[in-house]
Symmetry: C2
Subunit: 293 residues, 2 copies
DNA sequence: GCCGGTGTATCAGCGTTCCTTATCGTCGCT
DNA sequence: AGCGACGATAAGGAACGCTGATACACCGGC
């Protein structure tokens, strides 16, 4: 189970073709064929059906393992490389959509002033991508958000020994159209809303699946799906009556035509956590210190 | 970063000796020396100081990665092997100490009756070990426990795509000596007890670190440490006034001289989850069905 | 139905990798 | 100082893994 073989396996599976994978990987088709054969011999199981080239059940299962495995290998390699390389004067920060905040912008500005030579970049990405890129060292720091019980840490995909520190914790609220019958309430229980229509916006609000899990109930019918990462667009949909959404209270309050009613039960908070692998150095250490202060 | 090289690296680090590692792995000392050299060349970093053989900072970091990485590789390999091999008439169940229950014993007995030919084994192990062995297929089913917010799943070390289902959820209680001034209360808040002495029994009760995290506070001074997995022994210490502990209410109630007062805040529950990798088959499927029913 | 095109499997050849054996250099202990 | 244990290094040979050539299966066009 050489990572090498695994890499060509996933490439072949992705392309559905030995030849195409060979081209991408810079091998001959023959080499790829032999590599797959070697992997199948090693695991004593057929992994791919040929013509068409599709994963067998065993292959499908291996694919589930391969991604995280290769990510971890990459993370380990990058981690060591970082220890060896001279600390670069750069600061790459990744944030998930709801982890952004004015205080981040402010801290980033101060850090930039403190380290004028550093090349500072800020990227908004899905939460899992932030974790993955922090693990592989493409990002120096990550800020991810999630809705969790007040006592519990965010769930990190542990591809690598990452450290996480909470930097902000905000109450959650249900975003309702201003004319909604419940919009005058001072608090809402999720259970009472399980029949409502919910906007499913995994990037811009608390995902619907999370709400179902938190309420330990089904229902929670999806209305319009929203693929953007921008809460403003989502809130416009809420205002127009397409459905409800759960967001940090401060975020939900900003849009016209939307009322934000605090989520009373279950007790969830919106927490933003700073993640990095190993102790941050240079500008990253500076920014980290400002954020947790 | 061949797993092969990684394996010899951890072996060398564990033994603190190239020669000893070579003996264990069935190689010559020369081969091990070359493998380490190859790994160091690949990562462009010295990993081990020689004479004495101790990890460098980079090596120490790599060791942190290596364990989970090799576990994942092993899990993937075992996972595929399981798909290929004929389903054996065996049922190996691992449980963490507090995940045991009379209902488990009952279900296990019924399953055994249903599958008289099957070799049934039950092993009590630390929670993480249960996850690891389920991942590598040495166990067919695992039962792990933990104290979490009612809405959140237990945290699984994701070495492998494991599926988890809750099978029991019990309230937690603080175990106090019967003569303790607070033992007559009907509920206790963790915050009010942060000055008390706490028994640290990672295997037999909710770990102290978990309580600190849940209360988001330090304090919680450790008293006697208890290395056993048996709640009865721990409760004897409680009765003797060595310190307090948090356990499932039903468990804490059983011991003489101990009062169990429900934990009112933070809101945590003791949850037992059934874990397996892939859909269970044969006797494992039977037992799983009984447990979640 | 035949034929070319596309795509995978297989084989021979060859360079590289990796292990073993043998030997040397070095450290630590007596 | 000398010995013994340990790791590094050199050389040789087996095994591995890639390329290039070729065989074989499938599909579509005519």
């Amino acid at each position: 189970m050489d990572p090498h073989l695994l890499r060509t396996f996933v490439t072949v599976a992705r392309h559905g073709s030995f030849s195409a994978a060979a081209r991408e990987l810079g091998y001959t088709q023959s080499a790829v064929s032999q590599q797959i054969a070697a992997l199948e011999a090693d695991l004593r199981a057929p992994l791919l059906g040929r013509r068409p080239v599709v994963p067998t059940p065993a292959g499908a299962r291996l694919l589930e393992h391969a991604g995280p495995l290769l990510l971890r290998v990459e993370a380990a390699r990058a981690d060591i490389a970082r220890l060896v390389a001279a600390p670069r004067a750069r600061l790459a920060v990744g944030v998930s959509a709801l982890a952004q905040s004015p205080s981040l912008a402010g801290a980033l500005a101060q850090t930039h002033r403190q380290h004028p030579g550093a090349e500072v970049t800020l990227r908004v990405l899905p939460g899992e991508t932030v974790s993955a890129l922090v693990a592989t060292g493409e990002l120096d720091l990550g800020l991810i958000d999630g809705a969790v019980a007040p006592t519990d840490p965010l769930h990190l995909p542990d591809v690598s020994p990452l450290t996480a520190r909470a930097v902000a914790e905000l109450p959650l609220a249900v975003a309702l159209p201003a004319h909604h019958p419940l919009s005058a309430r001072t608090g809402l229980r999720l259970h009472d809303l399980s029949d409502a229509r919910w906007l499913d916006a995994p990037a811009a609000a608390v995902p619907l699946a999370r709400l179902r899990a938190a309420a330990a109930a089904d229902g929670f019918r999806p209305a319009v799906g929203y693929a953007g990462a921008d809460p403003a667009g989502l809130l416009a949909l809420v205002a127009a009556g397409h459905g409800l959404a759960v967001l940090p209270h401060a975020t939900a309050e900003t849009a016209p035509g939307v009322r934000a009613v605090p989520l009373a039960a279950p007790r969830l908070v919106h927490r933003v956590e700073l993640i990095h692998s190993g102790p941050p150095t240079g500008p990253a250490a500076d920014l980290a210190a400002r954020l947790v202060a």
